[in-house]
Symmetry: D2
Subunit: 339 residues, 4 copies
């Protein structure tokens, strides 16, 4: 039984983390904090009424260290790097759900997140928490950079191809569609129901801060430098990401062969499902669970591959993957608390 805390309980990821951890048989939630929302946890999230008597308070590193072995940071970027060094120093293991420790470079961070990074030491040490790629490193890590939602779907969809056919790839275009919880939980006119409902649009066209994260790990794993053209859109649903990934290759890759590569690649993975040929993944099948479902198709020439990858942005794209990482770090069954 480990003692865990959650910093940033009032956002969507924090709320889902709380739900999962309260029901996780090998975990006790012993500390929760938030910046502007205080009081009994079950008035903040009435869904968990009956599961906890915790009170949410302003973050205090000493209190956190006193009550926990393990901390999840579900705070906005720039906040995570302020509290992480103290938590690590106090001997806690940390999983950061923000973008603060993903890019491995303070220059890249500055460029894409528009702020100076204040923890150059740990950004180098953090392990990228995508279990399908870095399970062994995760086991021993003290600081996990939990992957972004878009990169999770993109990397899982691309890695089997890029790691086996890197030189054949000519271009990668990702057309992504995300549910609204992906934008966070904040008062903002553009997120109002009447602005989103019955509407649809692209945003940050070819200019999203998740692109360098995708390119970094795709290139690392595949030992080849890749450029990704990425256009996200805001979908009028609460949860879920679907990415339609278009890969142009310079030789004929028969669909059946590709399918075999993908199936083998994820054969023993508990949370990735390759669909039978002819089927397309849909949000419904991954809502509120930790799966990534992947579909495959090609054009007549077999030189354009269309990979469709879906996840729940709050589960495999955030809180679910964070718990999967914790399970690995603690030696629990990787699926514990996630079915």
């Amino acid at each position: 039984m480990i003692k865990t805390g959650i910093v940033g309980i009032s956002g969507y990821s924090g709320g889902i983390l709380l739900e999962i951890l309260l029901k996780h048989p090998q975990v006790r939630v012993t500390y929760v904090s938030a910046n502007n929302t205080h009081g009994k946890v079950d008035t903040i999230w009435p869904q968990v009424a009956g599961y906890t008597n915790l009170t949410c308070e302003k973050f205090d590193v000493k209190k956190a260290a006193k009550h926990c072995d393990f901390i999840f940071l579900a705070v906005p970027h720039t906040i995570a790097m302020q509290v992480t060094p103290g938590l690590l120093k106090a001997g806690l293991r940390v999983i950061d759900l923000s973008g603060d420790y993903r890019l491995n470079s303070i220059q890249q961070y500055k460029k894409w997140y528009g702020a100076a990074h204040t923890d150059a030491k740990n950004i180098k040490k953090a392990v990228y928490g995508l279990p399908e790629l870095y399970r062994e490193n995760i086991k021993k890590a003290n600081l996990i950079a939990n992957p972004g939602c878009y990169p999770t779907a993109a990397l899982l969809g691309l890695i089997p191809l890029t790691s086996t056919h890197a030189t054949a790839i000519q271009s990668i275009i990702i057309d992504a569609k995300s549910g609204v919880t992906g934008a966070g939980r904040k008062a903002k006119l553009q997120l109002n129901f009447s602005e989103i409902n019955e509407n649809f649009k692209a945003y940050k066209v070819l200019n999203h801060q998740h692109v360098p994260e995708m390119e970094l790990y795709l290139s690392k794993i595949s030992k080849e430098k890749f450029t990704i053209n990425f256009v996200p859109h805001l979908l009028p649903v609460n949860r879920g990401i679907l990415e339609t990934i278009y890969v142009q290759v310079n030789k004929c890759l028969p669909l059946k062969d590709i399918h075999k590569i993908y199936t083998r690649f994820y054969k023993t993975e508990p949370f990735v499902r390759i669909l039978p040929l002819g089927q397309q993944p849909e949000l419904n099948n991954v809502t509120k669970n930790n799966y990534c479902d992947i579909g495959l198709a090609t054009d007549a020439t077999n030189q354009l591959l269309v990979i469709t990858s879906v996840i729940d942005n709050l589960m495999k794209g955030a809180a679910g993957q964070a718990v999967q990482n914790m399970n690995i770090m603690c030696g629990f069954d990787e699926k514990e608390g996630l079915h």
Copy 2:
């Protein structure tokens, strides 16, 4: 051709007013203002690109008076009563879409809107702009208190009954459901897509500020004092109000007779449709038009009458009704600009 201005262009009602008036053949929109949103009108509301070159500025009574004969106030309550006296003094005719001039009494206003009323003179003079009841007064009015959305659906649904069977009525319960635009256009966490979508709840149970407005005009018209029990709910749709009205009466009122009373009452009304017996109104049929559709049913004893009344909260419940009032005041065809 009259020259009209709109104060408060950035809200939903202001935006719809703008769309209607720009296409109205006997009107020119010559002035628009808003408090925090400035610049070209077609960047604020891209739908009207190509219809106007107007620029939105901060409200200025002199400029408004110089450019307009007629003003619509689509501002929050308490703001309307600040600008109305100056506009009237400058000789403009005013239609106020807020609650500031509806209650006829500064005491009631204080009680329900929580603010002192600063224009005691005009609150007495304002004409309640429900054409089906007050058409003759509207013709000559200089200041119209445009009805609230909930009272519009409630009064149109109840008046034929209360004005003919006042003493038989024992209780009135209104269970109302409103689309989200009814809450206005503002940054507010509770109005976020993910908080409203796939959700549903009651609010201000038996305690909504539209209740005294309903009771006032229902009692006036029917010459009998009525109490209304009113519970509103927030519906996950953009536009539309449906009110299910339960009226208990102390004698048997056969449904066919009731239906005849309603049909006759609205026989010549251009914007009220009584459905055939057996049919129920639905939001779809009134979305983006100015109709109020009404359905009727009774229980086996004919002593419980269920009246269902639907409108588009931004049309018959706000901007559409305001234009209907303007048409009446200016001697235009009452339907002009509204089909």
Copy 3:
């Protein structure tokens, strides 16, 4: 470990039952059937891929009896009464989610469901599966009539009042709003996305087949005959029911006293939560769980009580409650598989 089967796997209730039972630690799903949908279960419900290798076939009583101890019937009414006698005779325990065994009288059944009842013997013996009222009977039952979704929310919302103040009650009006899965899973133009989305309407006004079920058990428990005026509406959400219940009483019932009665009544119930005064329940808090949340309010005279009751129509309103009943019948922890 008991062996259970599900008849009618292709509907929403059947699908949810399957999900719950596959993860239930004391149950093995050993048989599933459907009328028109056959093949591997995980192609019918891709969400459960990885959890089962079962194949769905046409119903066969012998096969069911051979493979199971326990059967859930998630079939349309009239079908349940055809298969139940055979299953009982074969020694299985049966939970029927349809309306076939709820009304206790073949005359009432004929009147409300429009079909002759063919199993007069068992309709008398069936136990009404609302654990909060009939837990002791459920323990020993061989045939459970699982309650309708609307009656579940209504009875839980009303029983504490009617069983303590029966004679004070003058009228009960229930304004109900249900998500679309409540209408079942079938090809029907009126259920198309574009017909429901951004729309809202009442249906079966004062004439729904769940009314006699509510009246029957309300009267039984409260030892007083009640009439219920019930108007359901179709809500553009997938899951959830909210009922706004208006009760007029002939004496002053202070809200605090009522709240105390409700809190005590459900003190030890695992799945009913009475909200603190001032709070209103919302669908979100019960989606995909088995809770019924209840809010209370009164008007100034304390003679009109407004009870708001929410459930997930597929959980506490169908599959969740069925599993709760199974847990009781088998002596399992009542919450097993339901959190």
Copy 4:
């Protein structure tokens, strides 16, 4: 004043056509028919109550010819080619909203629509009704093949580029998202609210019957053969199409130059709006109007162009464009009835 008829009034396009034509000042609707839906038009489409007394009947070519000068066919493909020859012979002008006359070749038709074409003569004569490309031919046409919804958004988004830089283009990928009315109005489980709502998926990946239509007219106009990779997705909204079009070119095309080309190309077009650089089009701005809004962006190398094109699938993608064609054919103002 011309006399028009609509064949196929019960579908979404037929219904919208009816609404537009009933309010069009130079048109009288004198005949409507449908295959399975009969009776008073205002019981089929309650929105038009008060606008017409027409009765919908089974199609009869003699009756149609007797009552009309002009016919709109809003019927499924294969039906249109059965009735068109008779209507033309009777001297009527015909606008067909189905796919029957778009492909110019009975072989292509057979391949993509899976049925033998029975009117080889007229498929050659039909004019493709995209006014921005074929206005002069439309004026004199007797038979218009009204464009498909996806091709309308695609062609308007691509033509300025392909007709000026055909040889520079290396690949075209279109990622399309369509509202549910695009799938037609029919009872189908996959179109049920609960199957679409909160869900999202791709369908007919690289294999949609609108592809040959796009390729045909794109190649014709641009005098270069193009291949289009097209992946459509079903969006949980009622109306609207957004296509994100990715064009790879073999030279640097500065964004400002591209923007100038597009702005000039559509300078005098009443229904195409090129957005200022930096803005992205959204469904909201074209819902229920006849506009196509187009946004432009490029990557850092200026060799990947991202064109976003939005229309209302029932307006510019079907009924609105049909009326625009009628206006051109009859010499009316092209915008009549469409604002």
